[in-house]
Each structure stands twice: as structure tokens, then as C-alpha cells.
Assembly symmetry: C2
Homo-oligomer: 179 residues x 2
């Protein structure tokens, strides 16, 4: 019985998440610079190039924790690069960043968001606040097991997943109840 309780606790605690930052007031410059230096390092190690355009697109997507649409990137790129960049170039940069695992796509929003833990193995699970629009990523061992289990019970061999949870983040819940 003791053993059961212990192992349950261990499983319970294995959870990566940036919800503390994404859904609360915080120093976002740290998120941004961490993401950029991560990206530099990641690309160097992989032997690929984080060109100015790719870097600028990543920077724009990381400007907040709200998913950003491709055409919003197109509109804002001149502010960083000083010259207009057309959709195909932006989509090429986005494809690169997706393949490198530096950003994720949120299909229900037709938008993209920076990955807070690129490189480390994790499941793509997003909690998007319907009030403030910010999205946090979470990777929970128990949830992964549950997904894997549900799929295998249906004879389905799970390969990739897209999980978008919508609701109220902690901050917006407080504002809701205080108003």
C-alpha cells in the first residue's frame, strides 16, 4: 500500500510546464532571450543556420505568450528587418522553426507559438486562455500514459498528437471572480 502511494506521487510530479510564466505577470525579456539563445545553440549543434529571417520570425513569435498568425508576422517583420518580407519567405522560416522544434502550430487558431522546452522530449499539449489569449505548454507523464493507453486499447498506434485545451487561466479566473 505504501509502495502504491509512493509511485503514484512520483508519476504525478513529472510535469513540464511554462504556465507559471505564460499565464502570470513576469519578466518576459528572460523568456525571449532564453528562447533565442536556446535556438542559437540548438541550430549550431544540429549544423543548420539560424539566418536573420528565421531569427526575426522566432523573435516575433516569442514577443508574447499569445499564438501569432503567419500574416501578423508578415506585417511586423519590417519593424525588425527594415524591409518587407513576403508570405512565402515567412512560411519557409516557419517551416524551418517547426522542423527544428523551436515553435509549434496551434491548428484551431491558425497560429504559432514558441516552444519553452525545445530539444527535450515532450508532448504537445497547450492550455489556451479564452480570456487573455495566452497559451501555456505542458508535458505531463500521466497524461501521456493515459493517451497512449486510450489509443492502444482501441488498437491505435499513436505517433503524433495535437492537444489544445481551452478555458480560463489562473489570472483570468481571479479577475472573473473579483469583478
Amino acid at each position: 500500500m505504501v509502495h502504491y502511494t509512493k509511485s503514484l506521487l512520483v508519476l504525478t510530479l513529472i510535469m513540464l510546464s511554462n504556465s507559471r510564466a505564460a499565464h502570470h505577470h513576469h519578466d518576459h525579456n528572460r523568456c525571449l532571450s532564453a528562447a533565442l539563445s536556446h535556438a542559437e545553440q540548438h541550430c549550431t549543434e544540429a549544423g543548420v543556420r539560424l539566418t536573420p529571417i528565421r531569427r526575426a520570425v522566432l523573435e516575433l513569435i516569442w514577443q508574447s505568450h499569445r499564438p501569432l498568425g503567419a500574416y501578423a508576422v508578415v506585417e511586423q517583420l519590417p519593424s525588425i528587418l527594415g524591409r518587407p518580407i513576403r508570405p512565402p519567405s515567412v512560411y519557409r522560416a516557419i517551416d524551418f522553426l517547426l522542423e527544428m522544434g523551436l515553435i509549434h502550430r496551434l491548428p484551431s487558431y491558425n497560429a504559432f507559438i514558441g516552444c519553452p522546452f525545445p530539444g527535450s522530449e515532450h508532448s504537445d499539449v497547450f492550455m489556451v486562455c479564452r480570456c487573455c489569449g495566452s497559451a501555456a505548454e505542458v508535458s505531463a507523464e500521466t497524461l501521456n500514459k493515459s493517451l497512449e493507453d486510450t489509443a492502444s486499447r482501441a488498437g491505435f498506434q499513436l505517433e503524433t498528437q495535437n492537444i489544445e485545451l481551452s478555458g480560463l487561466c489562473a489570472s483570468c479566473q481571479q479577475e472573473d471572480s473579483s469583478s
Copy 2:
């Protein structure tokens, strides 16, 4: 010990799924007619009208277990109604069917699929086969709890969800290994 085993089994078994049909050879006419009569009944009870267009769109979406795009519906509608129907009318019908819970939208595919258990409370979880393209819906108690648990541990108040699992269905796994 016996009690623990039993309750685990009970939780394990609470799972709605149409994967047996969706991912295997079956008499699909039964799926179709069941869906249509369900829809009639559901609409009557709700006091709304399943008009010819709405019914035809539902019928087309239920023609298989593969998600169907809105413009595929537009193209095929003449074969049922005998006259062309333009995109806005199709999208209006789709919006109606979505609101009634008779179909679901799969955002990563920009496509729609019939709900095998409309009316009954269920979570939106789809297993889409990357080989044959068919999508099964599943609603598992344990997965729901796990999602709820993951969200609440991040202080997130879960309201709606979109879960798309991609991989190989049972049938396509066999073909893969036999070839």
C-alpha cells in the same frame, strides 16, 4: 487488493468509441442511417429544423469515416440536391450541425466528421489514421480525468478541448507488417 483491482477495471472500461467500425471493414449503411435518424430525433426534440440542405450536408459528411472538407461538400452537394449550393450555405449548414453536436471539426485537417454519439456527454478525442485517413472518435473516462487533472495542477480551468491523435489504425498496422 481485490477492491483496488476491481475499481481500476471499472474505470478502464468506461470508454465510448467507434474505432471498431471506423477503422475496420463494416456495413457502413448502418452508420449512415443511424446517424441520420439520430439527427432527426435530436433536432425534433430540440425544436429546430433539419432542413434538406442541412440533412444533405450531414449525409455527405457521413458518407465515410474520413474527415470531409467544406469545399468537398460544396462539390458533391449537386449529386444529392440536384442543384449547386454555394459556400456560404454550406458553411451555414455546417455551423448548425456543429452547434447541434452532430458533427465535429478537426482543425488540423480543415475538415469535418460525423459524431457517432451525439447527445451523450463525451470528450472530443479523435484518432486519425495517417495511412487510410479514417478517424475514430473516443471518449475515455480515464483520459478525461487525466486531462482535467493536468489542467488543474497548472491552475487552468478547462472548458473545451480539441484532441487529435495521429498514427496507424489497427487495419493499416496489419497491412504494414504483412507487406
